[in-house]
Protein backbone atom coordinates (compact mmCIF):
# COMPACT_ATOMS: atom_id res chain seq x y z
CA UNK A 1 0.00 0.00 0.00
CA UNK A 2 2.81 2.34 0.91
CA UNK A 3 3.61 3.46 -2.64
CA UNK A 4 0.04 3.39 -3.98
CA UNK A 5 -1.16 6.89 -3.12
CA UNK A 6 2.09 8.62 -4.09
CA UNK A 7 2.11 6.78 -7.41
CA UNK A 8 -1.44 7.96 -8.01
CA UNK A 9 -0.30 11.54 -7.36
CA UNK A 10 2.71 11.24 -9.63
CA UNK A 11 0.59 9.80 -12.45
CA UNK A 12 -1.83 12.74 -12.11
CA UNK A 13 1.02 15.25 -12.41
CA UNK A 14 2.60 13.43 -15.36
CA UNK A 15 -0.72 13.18 -17.24
CA UNK A 16 -1.36 16.90 -16.69
CA UNK A 17 2.11 17.81 -17.97
CA UNK A 18 1.90 15.50 -20.98
CA UNK A 19 -1.54 16.72 -22.02
CA UNK A 20 -0.70 20.42 -21.54
CA UNK A 21 2.42 20.00 -23.72
CA UNK A 22 0.38 18.41 -26.50
CA UNK A 23 1.94 14.96 -26.22
CA UNK A 24 0.52 12.15 -28.34
CA UNK A 25 2.60 9.54 -26.56
CA UNK A 26 4.74 9.38 -23.44
CA UNK A 27 7.89 7.26 -23.57
CA UNK A 28 9.41 7.76 -20.17
CA UNK A 29 8.94 9.43 -16.78
CA UNK A 30 12.13 10.18 -14.85
CA UNK A 31 11.61 10.28 -11.12
CA UNK A 32 14.12 11.33 -8.45
CA UNK A 33 13.69 9.44 -5.19
CA UNK A 34 15.68 10.09 -2.01
CA UNK A 35 16.70 7.13 0.11
CA UNK A 36 14.93 8.39 3.24
CA UNK A 37 11.51 8.35 1.55
CA UNK A 38 11.64 4.57 1.74
CA UNK A 39 9.97 4.16 -1.65
CA UNK A 40 10.91 1.01 -3.53
CA UNK A 41 11.38 1.16 -7.29
CA UNK A 42 9.68 -2.23 -7.77
CA UNK A 43 6.60 -1.11 -5.89
CA UNK A 44 6.43 2.27 -7.62
CA UNK A 45 6.67 0.48 -10.95
CA UNK A 46 3.95 -2.00 -10.02
CA UNK A 47 1.46 0.74 -9.10
CA UNK A 48 2.61 2.88 -12.03
CA UNK A 49 1.58 0.19 -14.48
CA UNK A 50 -1.77 -0.23 -12.71
CA UNK A 51 -2.63 3.47 -12.49
CA UNK A 52 -1.52 4.37 -16.03
CA UNK A 53 -3.81 1.85 -17.75
CA UNK A 54 -6.08 3.70 -20.14
CA UNK A 55 -4.18 7.00 -19.76
CA UNK A 56 -1.74 8.68 -22.11
CA UNK A 57 1.03 7.22 -19.93
CA UNK A 58 0.12 3.60 -20.62
CA UNK A 59 3.23 1.74 -21.74
CA UNK A 60 5.62 4.51 -20.65
CA UNK A 61 8.75 3.53 -18.77
CA UNK A 62 9.19 4.70 -15.18
CA UNK A 63 12.85 5.45 -14.54
CA UNK A 64 13.86 5.94 -10.92
CA UNK A 65 17.08 7.75 -9.97
CA UNK A 66 17.93 7.01 -6.35
CA UNK A 67 19.71 9.55 -4.15
CA UNK A 68 21.61 8.19 -1.17
CA UNK A 69 21.09 10.07 2.10
CA UNK A 70 24.04 12.26 3.11
CA UNK A 71 25.13 12.92 6.67
CA UNK A 72 27.47 15.77 7.57
CA UNK A 73 29.97 15.65 10.39
CA UNK A 74 29.75 18.85 12.48
CA UNK A 75 33.31 18.30 13.77
CA UNK A 76 35.40 17.63 10.64
CA UNK A 77 32.88 18.64 7.94
CA UNK A 78 32.97 15.30 6.10
CA UNK A 79 29.82 14.39 4.16
CA UNK A 80 29.19 10.68 4.23
CA UNK A 81 26.64 7.93 3.64
CA UNK A 82 25.41 6.24 6.77
CA UNK A 83 26.10 2.72 7.87
CA UNK A 84 23.20 0.70 9.25
CA UNK A 85 22.20 1.71 12.80
CA UNK A 86 24.72 4.52 13.10
CA UNK A 87 25.11 8.19 12.17
CA UNK A 88 28.71 8.44 13.39
CA UNK A 89 31.42 10.01 11.22
CA UNK A 90 33.63 7.30 9.66
CA UNK A 91 36.63 9.65 9.77
CA UNK A 92 36.65 11.26 13.23
CA UNK A 93 33.89 9.36 15.04
CA UNK A 94 31.84 12.46 15.93
CA UNK A 95 28.08 12.31 15.69
CA UNK A 96 26.88 13.26 12.20
CA UNK A 97 23.79 15.32 11.39
CA UNK A 98 21.38 14.41 8.57
CA UNK A 99 21.37 16.80 5.60
CA UNK A 100 18.53 17.40 3.15
CA UNK A 101 20.19 15.18 0.55
CA UNK A 102 18.19 11.96 0.41
CA UNK A 103 14.76 13.55 0.96
CA UNK A 104 14.01 14.15 -2.74
CA UNK A 105 10.80 13.03 -4.35
CA UNK A 106 9.96 14.71 -7.63
CA UNK A 107 9.36 14.17 -11.34
CA UNK A 108 12.45 15.43 -13.13
CA UNK A 109 11.63 15.01 -16.83
CA UNK A 110 9.12 13.38 -19.16
CA UNK A 111 9.96 12.04 -22.61
CA UNK A 112 7.09 12.67 -25.02
CA UNK A 113 6.22 12.49 -28.68
CA UNK A 114 3.94 14.94 -30.45
CA UNK A 115 1.65 14.26 -33.39
CA UNK A 116 3.38 15.06 -36.67
CA UNK A 117 6.88 15.48 -35.24
Amino acid sequence: MHEASVTEALVAIAVEEAVSRGASKVNKISLVVGETTGYMAESLDFYFRAFTKGTILEGAKLEVAYVKAKIKCPACGLEFERKMFSFDCPSCGAQGVMTKIGNEFYIDTIDIEREGT
Binding site: M1, A9, I13, T36, F85, F87, I107, I110, I112
Partner: protein
Protein backbone atom coordinates in the same frame (compact mmCIF):
# COMPACT_ATOMS: atom_id res chain seq x y z
CA UNK B 1 10.56 11.97 -32.34
CA UNK B 2 11.32 11.79 -28.67
CA UNK B 3 11.33 15.10 -26.82
CA UNK B 4 12.42 15.51 -23.21
CA UNK B 5 10.51 18.06 -21.19
CA UNK B 6 11.62 19.34 -17.82
CA UNK B 7 8.96 18.98 -15.15
CA UNK B 8 10.64 19.24 -11.73
CA UNK B 9 7.42 18.99 -9.79
CA UNK B 10 7.22 17.48 -6.32
CA UNK B 11 4.86 14.55 -6.15
CA UNK B 12 3.37 15.85 -2.89
CA UNK B 13 2.51 19.31 -4.28
CA UNK B 14 -1.29 18.88 -4.38
CA UNK B 15 -1.38 17.51 -0.84
CA UNK B 16 0.96 20.26 0.38
CA UNK B 17 -1.17 22.97 -1.24
CA UNK B 18 -4.34 21.72 0.43
CA UNK B 19 -2.55 21.29 3.76
CA UNK B 20 -1.47 24.94 3.57
CA UNK B 21 -5.11 26.02 3.14
CA UNK B 22 -6.10 23.88 6.13
CA UNK B 23 -3.32 25.40 8.19
CA UNK B 24 -4.46 28.91 7.26
CA UNK B 25 -7.96 27.98 8.42
CA UNK B 26 -6.65 26.70 11.76
CA UNK B 27 -4.52 29.78 12.24
CA UNK B 28 -7.46 32.07 11.53
CA UNK B 29 -9.19 30.54 14.56
CA UNK B 30 -5.98 30.42 16.58
CA UNK B 31 -6.24 26.64 16.73
CA UNK B 32 -2.90 24.91 17.35
CA UNK B 33 -2.79 21.65 15.40
CA UNK B 34 -0.62 18.72 16.45
CA UNK B 35 -0.07 15.73 14.17
CA UNK B 36 0.61 12.72 16.42
CA UNK B 37 2.68 9.96 14.80
CA UNK B 38 3.86 6.59 16.04
CA UNK B 39 3.79 2.86 15.43
CA UNK B 40 0.85 0.64 16.41
CA UNK B 41 0.78 0.15 20.17
CA UNK B 42 3.30 2.90 20.93
CA UNK B 43 0.72 4.59 23.15
CA UNK B 44 -0.58 7.42 20.95
CA UNK B 45 -4.12 7.40 22.34
CA UNK B 46 -2.94 6.98 25.96
CA UNK B 47 -0.54 9.88 25.41
CA UNK B 48 -3.37 12.04 24.06
CA UNK B 49 -5.56 11.22 27.07
CA UNK B 50 -2.77 12.32 29.43
CA UNK B 51 -2.08 15.53 27.51
CA UNK B 52 -5.76 16.46 27.14
CA UNK B 53 -6.48 15.83 30.84
CA UNK B 54 -3.99 18.63 31.55
CA UNK B 55 -5.66 21.10 29.18
CA UNK B 56 -9.10 22.56 29.59
CA UNK B 57 -11.37 19.91 28.06
CA UNK B 58 -13.57 22.36 26.16
CA UNK B 59 -10.55 23.73 24.29
CA UNK B 60 -9.68 20.43 22.59
CA UNK B 61 -10.81 18.60 19.46
CA UNK B 62 -9.38 15.28 18.35
CA UNK B 63 -9.32 13.57 14.98
CA UNK B 64 -8.58 9.85 15.21
CA UNK B 65 -7.20 8.14 12.15
CA UNK B 66 -7.52 4.39 11.87
CA UNK B 67 -7.46 1.93 9.03
CA UNK B 68 -10.65 0.30 10.34
CA UNK B 69 -12.38 0.59 13.75
CA UNK B 70 -13.36 3.43 16.01
CA UNK B 71 -12.36 2.04 19.44
CA UNK B 72 -9.98 4.94 20.10
CA UNK B 73 -12.62 7.54 19.25
CA UNK B 74 -15.14 5.83 21.55
CA UNK B 75 -12.58 5.76 24.38
CA UNK B 76 -11.96 9.50 23.99
CA UNK B 77 -15.66 10.33 23.72
CA UNK B 78 -16.27 8.38 26.95
CA UNK B 79 -13.94 10.88 28.62
CA UNK B 80 -16.03 13.76 27.30
CA UNK B 81 -13.52 14.67 24.58
CA UNK B 82 -14.82 16.04 21.28
CA UNK B 83 -13.44 13.27 19.04
CA UNK B 84 -14.00 12.54 15.36
CA UNK B 85 -13.12 9.42 13.42
CA UNK B 86 -11.48 8.96 10.04
CA UNK B 87 -11.44 5.39 8.77
CA UNK B 88 -9.08 5.23 5.84
CA UNK B 89 -10.27 1.80 4.74
CA UNK B 90 -6.77 0.54 4.07
CA UNK B 91 -4.70 3.66 3.44
CA UNK B 92 -1.66 3.68 5.68
CA UNK B 93 -1.57 7.44 6.40
CA UNK B 94 -3.80 10.49 6.67
CA UNK B 95 -3.60 13.13 3.94
CA UNK B 96 -4.86 16.69 3.60
CA UNK B 97 -8.07 15.83 1.66
CA UNK B 98 -9.14 13.42 4.45
CA UNK B 99 -8.65 16.18 7.04
CA UNK B 100 -10.60 18.66 4.87
CA UNK B 101 -13.54 16.27 4.77
CA UNK B 102 -13.66 15.68 8.52
CA UNK B 103 -12.99 19.30 9.50
CA UNK B 104 -16.06 20.29 7.44
CA UNK B 105 -18.15 18.28 9.93
CA UNK B 106 -16.50 19.72 13.05
CA UNK B 107 -16.75 22.92 15.01
CA UNK B 108 -13.17 23.77 15.89
CA UNK B 109 -12.50 25.39 19.26
CA UNK B 110 -11.41 29.00 18.85
CA UNK B 111 -8.06 29.57 20.61
CA UNK B 112 -7.98 25.83 21.26
CA UNK B 113 -6.15 22.69 20.25
CA UNK B 114 -6.59 20.15 17.50
CA UNK B 115 -4.84 16.83 18.00
CA UNK B 116 -4.76 14.54 14.99
CA UNK B 117 -3.80 10.96 15.77
CA UNK B 118 -2.35 9.52 12.60
CA UNK B 119 -2.44 5.89 11.48
CA UNK B 120 -0.13 3.64 13.51
CA UNK B 121 2.82 3.57 11.13
CA UNK B 122 6.31 5.11 11.22
CA UNK B 123 6.72 5.32 7.45
CA UNK B 124 4.24 7.15 5.20
CA UNK B 125 2.47 9.41 7.73
CA UNK B 126 5.78 11.27 8.00
CA UNK B 127 5.58 12.29 4.33
CA UNK B 128 2.15 13.94 4.32
CA UNK B 129 1.50 17.33 5.88
CA UNK B 130 -2.11 17.67 6.99
CA UNK B 131 -2.27 21.30 8.11
CA UNK B 132 -0.48 20.82 11.41
CA UNK B 133 1.67 23.32 13.30
CA UNK B 134 3.90 20.54 14.59
CA UNK B 135 4.39 16.80 14.42
CA UNK B 136 5.17 14.82 17.54
CA UNK B 137 6.34 11.22 17.55
CA UNK B 138 5.25 8.74 20.18
CA UNK B 139 7.81 5.95 20.50
CA UNK B 140 7.83 3.32 23.24
CA UNK B 141 10.80 1.75 25.00
CA UNK B 142 9.31 -1.64 24.03
CA UNK B 143 9.81 -0.86 20.34
CA UNK B 144 13.56 -0.62 20.95
CA UNK B 145 16.20 2.09 20.97
CA UNK B 146 17.07 1.64 17.28
CA UNK B 147 13.88 3.26 15.96
CA UNK B 148 15.49 6.61 14.98
CA UNK B 149 18.06 4.70 12.93
CA UNK B 150 15.41 2.62 11.16
CA UNK B 151 12.79 5.32 10.56
CA UNK B 152 14.83 8.49 10.13
CA UNK B 153 12.20 10.63 8.38
CA UNK B 154 9.59 10.53 11.09
CA UNK B 155 12.13 11.44 13.78
CA UNK B 156 13.64 14.11 11.58
CA UNK B 157 10.30 15.86 11.15
CA UNK B 158 9.18 15.65 14.78
CA UNK B 159 9.16 18.76 16.97
CA UNK B 160 9.36 16.47 20.02
CA UNK B 161 9.58 12.79 20.85
CA UNK B 162 7.39 11.31 23.59
CA UNK B 163 9.10 8.17 24.86
CA UNK B 164 6.38 6.03 26.44
CA UNK B 165 6.57 2.98 28.72
CA UNK B 166 9.63 4.37 30.49
CA UNK B 167 8.90 2.13 33.49
CA UNK B 168 9.64 -1.03 31.52
CA UNK B 169 12.84 0.27 29.90
CA UNK B 170 15.13 -1.95 32.07
CA UNK B 171 13.12 -5.07 31.19
CA UNK B 172 13.26 -4.60 27.42
CA UNK B 173 16.95 -3.63 27.20
CA UNK B 174 16.21 -0.05 26.13
CA UNK B 175 19.42 1.98 25.58
CA UNK B 176 18.48 5.63 26.23
CA UNK B 177 21.86 6.99 25.19
CA UNK B 178 21.75 5.23 21.80
CA UNK B 179 18.14 6.36 21.24
CA UNK B 180 18.89 10.00 22.09
CA UNK B 181 22.03 10.06 19.96
CA UNK B 182 19.99 8.86 16.98
CA UNK B 183 17.49 11.65 17.49
CA UNK B 184 20.25 14.26 17.90
CA UNK B 185 21.70 13.28 14.50
CA UNK B 186 18.35 13.65 12.79
CA UNK B 187 16.90 16.49 14.73
CA UNK B 188 19.30 18.35 17.04
CA UNK B 189 16.62 20.53 18.69
CA UNK B 190 13.77 18.12 19.42
CA UNK B 191 13.22 17.45 23.12
CA UNK B 192 12.71 13.85 24.26
CA UNK B 193 10.13 13.37 27.02
CA UNK B 194 10.29 10.01 28.82
CA UNK B 195 6.80 9.31 30.16
CA UNK B 196 4.52 6.69 31.64
CA UNK B 197 1.09 7.07 30.05
CA UNK B 198 -0.58 4.83 32.65
CA UNK B 199 0.46 6.89 35.68
CA UNK B 200 0.85 10.23 33.89
CA UNK B 201 4.47 10.58 35.00
CA UNK B 202 6.39 13.02 32.78
CA UNK B 203 3.35 14.62 31.11
CA UNK B 204 3.47 17.89 33.05
CA UNK B 205 6.69 18.67 31.15
CA UNK B 206 5.11 17.72 27.82
CA UNK B 207 2.15 20.05 28.38
CA UNK B 208 4.37 22.88 29.66
CA UNK B 209 6.44 22.54 26.47
CA UNK B 210 3.35 22.45 24.23
CA UNK B 211 1.80 25.48 25.96
CA UNK B 212 5.07 27.44 25.64
CA UNK B 213 5.02 26.85 21.85
CA UNK B 214 1.79 28.83 21.57
CA UNK B 215 3.10 31.96 23.25
Amino acid sequence: MNERISVRRAVYEENDRRAEILHDGFRAMNVFAVNVLGGPGAGKTSTLKQIISRLSADSVSVIEGDIASDIDTKALKDLGIDAFQIETGGDCHLNAPMIEAIVAQMTLKKNGWLFIENIGNLVCPAEFVIGEDIKIVVSSTAEGSDKPYKYPIVFRKAAAVILTKKDIAPYVGFDMDYFERGIRSLNPDAPVFPVNALTGEGFDSVVAWLSALRR
